[in-house]
Amino acid sequence: MTRVTIPVGPQHPLLKEPLSLRLIAEGERVVEATMRLGYVHRGIERLAEERSYVQNLHLLERVCGICSHVHTTTYCQGVEALLDLEVPPRGLMLRTLLCELERIHSHLLWLGVLAENIGFSTVFMYAWRDREIVLDIMENLSGGRIAHAVNVIGGVRIDLDSDQIDAIRRSLDELHGQVDDLVNVVEHEQTLKARTQGVGGASLEQIRRHCAVGPVARAAGLDRDLRRDAPYAAYDRLSFEVVTESGGDVWSATRVRVRETVESLSLCQQILDDLPPGEVAVRASRRVPEGQVVARAEAPRGEVIYYIRSDGSDSPARIKIRTPTLPALSMVRERLRDINIADVPAVISGIDLCVACADR
């Protein structure tokens, strides 16, 4: 059979971000795939060395357009560790609240993208409509829908009064009902199952070999979640379940993400019920003592790692960002091999790539 090369990207309806895939297909089967990256490389790590620690908050929030808050959270944790700062409990709780809202927002966005890519536009419309509720809450909290600028070194810059808490609680209740509907659709809709079950399966061995993290790894049965395994922010004070599945296919990844969304909703409720009084931030000095630190946090897509080295001045000597998409990208070629062309959108969406994160 003749081989044809199908270009997918850098501009293609399948991709929301620039990434270039070359699929080599025989008939309707993909036999080989190659990939080119770097279309959204902005040199953020280098830029970070030229800016002060405070300015970097603004810069690092823009590594990613979806999980913007978790990037500054990880960065702040690192810098606070270098400064030996103790963030007040209320500040930590609010930080965690934003992290969880962001997870809901990211997972709903992802569900919409998956649905759109497998030709299920109704679920796409509903998921993105419901996501608006989260965006509204975040806007209410911080003034920003995507970039919140909530984190500062030493805490957060926002505080909640009881009116805001009530308003958020009402919105979350509304969202809960709608997320339940989406869970119902994901669990029971036959065509959605037909397009995702058994598609793009990754074995536990494969996951370990590529060091994959987050929902992709949990979908294959790797029970790992930093929020429980190495609690940061206020996660040690909250109770939640780490969702795992065993299939490793797109269907398992979908179930993991929708159930995580439900867990995150419950986490948000817990935070609002149990918000400790007090300050939200402490003052931090502009200069950071010499040293190096590794900070980690569980982003919606998995573990994000920041390595920060300080030379004692007011700007970092080196910042290295390792995003969860990096190991996921290394799996893409393997997972695209020997599948149907029609399954490519499902597999690519199932991994939930964030190209901007990986390119930095």
């Binding site: 309806p13 399948l14 030709g119 299920f120 109704t122 679920v123 509903y126 065509t191 037909a194 397009r195």
Partner: protein, 319 residues
């Protein structure tokens, strides 16, 4: 002179070309609006399909250098001619431009021509997405067309006539064929969805896989005509199904006096709108199938059901 004028009016105004195009645009709007409302969106205003058409008609038409320009230009025109001709033989509320014994076969043939031209469009416009989309559309054609043809020949066998007008008259005298052949009716709807490449059978033009399918390289006037082809095909398909299974303009489900004039037109419109809404609702309910899943559905489920329906019809005829 008067006769010539009347022929021209039937051919070009009602129920001819002008009426069909107006219906096509109206149906497209109702369809888009319904889908939008069901998906919690607002949807386009009523003139949007017309505006889209005018805009596309006035835009520059670009083709790749290696594409076969004359054929690419001819294909949408010929397809449009085929669906318009097919529509002329389909009675609308009792009015028909031209009918004869055997017109059902001509209509079915003309309605399936665009599928072939659609494939050719992908093939001659040389883009990789076009070629994959084109080959998919042929695979899809074989999956839906067989059950569709079986479903639509069953009423003809039941009534013993291959003239659409005759089949309508006989339904008015006895009962709507959908009562005798519910399975056939469902098969015809599924087949029509496949023919129109609507969700969940929009496989040849799945945008996350093959961008625009066979029409990826088409733009401007050519694309506008292709879109009009699909719209008129929708109208023709719906009218055909209403005539074949739902008794056309017949008001009563069982035997009754056939209504005349306005009542007949209104009944026909309501049925056609009902069919359109069925298509719209179906297309919000499902995710797109894969081509192998469609082939399975077509050959393992739909085709045997079609055969059963045919066998039952023939047995009824003998009994």
């Amino acid at each position: 002179m008067r006769e010539l004028l009347s022929v021209l009016v039937t051919l070009f105004i009602f129920p001819g070309v002008a009426f069909l195009v107006a219906c096509a645009l109206l149906f497209e709007w109702i369809d888009r609006r319904t889908i939008a409302r069901l998906q919690a969106r607002v949807g386009p205003p009523w003139f949007q399909p017309l505006a889209d058409l005018v805009k596309l008609l006035s835009k520059e038409s670009i083709l790749p250098r290696q594409a076969d320009r004359p054929i690419c230009t001819a294909l949408p025109v010929v397809s449009l001619a085929a669906v318009l001709t097919a529509a002329l033989y389909i009675p609308v509320g009792g009015r028909v431009v031209y009918g004869f014994e055997g017109d059902l076969i001509v209509v079915l043939f003309l309605l399936s021509l665009p599928a072939l031209f659609y494939f050719l469009a992908g093939w001659v416009s040389v883009g990789i997405y076009s070629i994959i989309g084109g080959s998919r559309s042929v695979l899809q054609y074989f999956s839906y067309e067989v059950p569709f043809l079986m479903a639509l020949s069953a009423p003809a066998i039941l009534t013993g006539s291959w003239s659409i007008s005759d089949i309508i008259t006989q339904q008015a005298e006895s009962a709507w064929i959908v009562l005798a052949q519910p399975v056939g009716f469902l098969l015809a709807i599924v087949g029509l969805i496949g023919k129109l490449k609507r969700v969940p059978f929009d496989i040849p033009k799945a945008k996350s896989e093959v961008v625009g399918g066979p029409l990826t390289e088409f733009s401007g006037r050519k694309l506008a005509l292709w879109r009009l082809v699909v719209d008129i095909q929708t109208v023709a398909g719906i009218f055909l199904l209403v005539n074949m299974f739902l008794g056309g303009g017949d008001l009563t489900l069982l035997q009754g006096s056939a209504p005349l004039g306005l009542a007949r037109a209104v009944t026909f419109s309501i049925k056609a709108l009902g069919m359109l809404l069925t298509l719209s609702v179906t297309s919000v309910l499902y995710a797109r199938l894969r081509i192998d899943q469609l082939a399975n559905l077509g050959w393992r489920i739909l085709a045997p059901l079609g055969l059963l329906q045919l066998a039952a019809t023939i047995l009824m005829g003998i009994g």
